[in-house]
Amino acid sequence: MSRQRLSLWWFVGTLVFSLLSMLVPLPDVLAPFKPYWPALFLLYWSLESNDRVSLGLAFLMGLAADLLDGVLLGEQALRLCALVFIALRFRSRLRFFPMWQQTLAVFALLLNDRVLLLVVRVFAGDPLPPASWWVAPFVGAALWPFLFLLLDDLRMRLRIQ
């Protein structure tokens, strides 16, 4: 029972941590390279945990991120929903990919996410972002193997599902 509770807290804790690290600023030089943390953590959980991540959870998490970000309510909810839907749909295949293939898949998902964001922003009347805006998915994909292995390792050590 307490093991179950621990794993639930671990799950919620990583998600809150991802939201917080979205808010933590980086030095100016590194700012364009900041990956989209909530997406990476949600992807990890949707691949690893069978029934915890659902579209509703992604929606709620996106709403929370929107409230924190203060940009447009529903923007990140939309993006995270699309991302989690694709990840869940191809979950069985993504899980058995070798790491480099999985990284490529994550890169495609993150790129798709950026395109969605671009569409939303253009519809909202914002100007087109500069070229360095497209760097973030690359960084996210490059970090994915490390994040995946780290989270997996921590999960094994804590012996939680």
Binding site: L19, L20, M22, L23, V24, P25, L26, D28, A31, P32, K34, N50, D51, S54, L55, G56, A58, F59, G62, D66, L67, L68, D69, G70, V71, L72, L73, G74, E75, A77, L78, C81, A82, F85, L88, R89, R91, S92, R93, V120, A124, D126, P127, L128, P129, P130, W133, A136
Partner: protein
């Protein structure tokens, strides 16, 4: 949760229910976005949710503050001494200048009283600190540690020691969000110090500069010209430095000159900023006067209902005066 297990992850074909759920959530998100974009009631939700959101901001701002504290803690003594000396010299210089200006300012004040204008050189400011929170890449927003409880209102100009930084756009109970002058959606009316030419400085989409796209072709603008706020529009008080022109070239349309300027405020590194109060002097035509006429209680009583007519007209008459 257990119910969803059997169709949770089929190897190839997806379930129709999952797609329907996706469509539902996407539609919900779109409805939210449209409503928020049209009505802007997101701020009201955020204001209500501030009790939860603001501690998170403080928490997320802690690494940045920690870094700042660490750099101070581990800065070597010599550098601190040097910095201290430099600041002392700056202060001495500024004080000397101020003393010389004081007489001029007083004279100016007297002359202006004679002329019956209401411009004042005094500053009514409030010191605020920047909270190190990332509100999204390329958003040109900065969070400050004062809010509605400290008397901050949307629209207040924000300056630092070197010039105009931006304005407050959104206020939470104990924090507020400021839009920088470099935001593409921001514009500030400026005047070129050397020639007195009035124009607008917009934020530009590629990073930390201002763009002035509508300068007449015959105007005299050079690289190095300083831009000051002109005070038109009534939001920014006149005379604060905004930037310095770095490039002038004909616009692609060929109808205007387009200049780029570097903002003079220290947008990336400002830790402390000043919020201006009560500076907006109304510019433009005076507010429309309420039409004058004989007081309403002198109006002839309609024949139909004397009792009702006698009691109702009194409040509007008082309000009109």
């Amino acid at each position: 949760m257990a119910l969803a297990r059997e169709d949770a992850s089929p190897l190839f074909a997806g379930s129709v229910a999952g797609t329907l759920r996706l469509i539902f959530y996407l539609a919900l998100a779109m409805v939210l976005m449209v409503l928020d974009h049209r009505n802007g009631w997101m701020w009201r939700i955020r204001y209500a949710a501030a009790a939860v959101v603001e501690p998170l901001y403080r928490l997320a701002g802690m690494p940045a503050t920690g870094m700042r504290t660490l750099t101070v803690a581990f800065a070597d003594r010599q550098r601190l001494t040097e910095q201290n000396q430099r600041l002392g010299e700056d202060l001495l210089l500024a004080n000397a200048k101020l003393n010389r200006m004081a007489a001029v300012a007083e004279q100016n004040q007297r002359l202006k009283e004679l002329l019956d204008t209401q411009h004042s050189l005094e500053l009514n400011v409030q010191l605020a600190r920047v909270i190190g929170v990332d509100l999204g890449a390329y958003r040109h927003r900065v969070m400050l540690n004062l809010g509605a409880r400290d008397g901050i209102r949307p629209g207040q100009p924000v300056i630092d020691a070197r010039g105009v930084m931006g304005q407050v756009i959104e206020v939470l109970p104990t924090t507020s969000v400021m839009m920088l002058v470099t935001d593409p959606n921001h514009a500030v009316p400026v005047v070129i110090e050397r020639t007195g030419l009035r124009t607008m400085a917009y934020g530009s989409r590629d990073g930390n500069q201002l763009s002035l796209p509508t300068i007449p072709l015959v105007a005299d603008v050079k690289v190095g010209d300083r831009l000051l706020t002109s005070g038109l529009g009534g939001r920014f008080p006149p005379g604060f430095p905004v930037g310095e022109v770095t490039a002038v070239a004909p616009a692609p349309t060929g109808m205007f000159l387009e200049a780029h300027a570097r903002p003079s405020a220290d947008l990336n590194r400002s830790g402390d900023v000043l919020l201006l109060h009560d500076q907006a002097e109304p510019a433009g035509p005076p507010a429309p006067v309420t039409p004058m006429g004989p007081p309403a209680d002198l109006a002839p009583v309609p024949a139909g209902a004397p009792a009702a007519a006698a009691s109702t007209p009194a409040p509007p008459a008082g309000a009109a005066r």
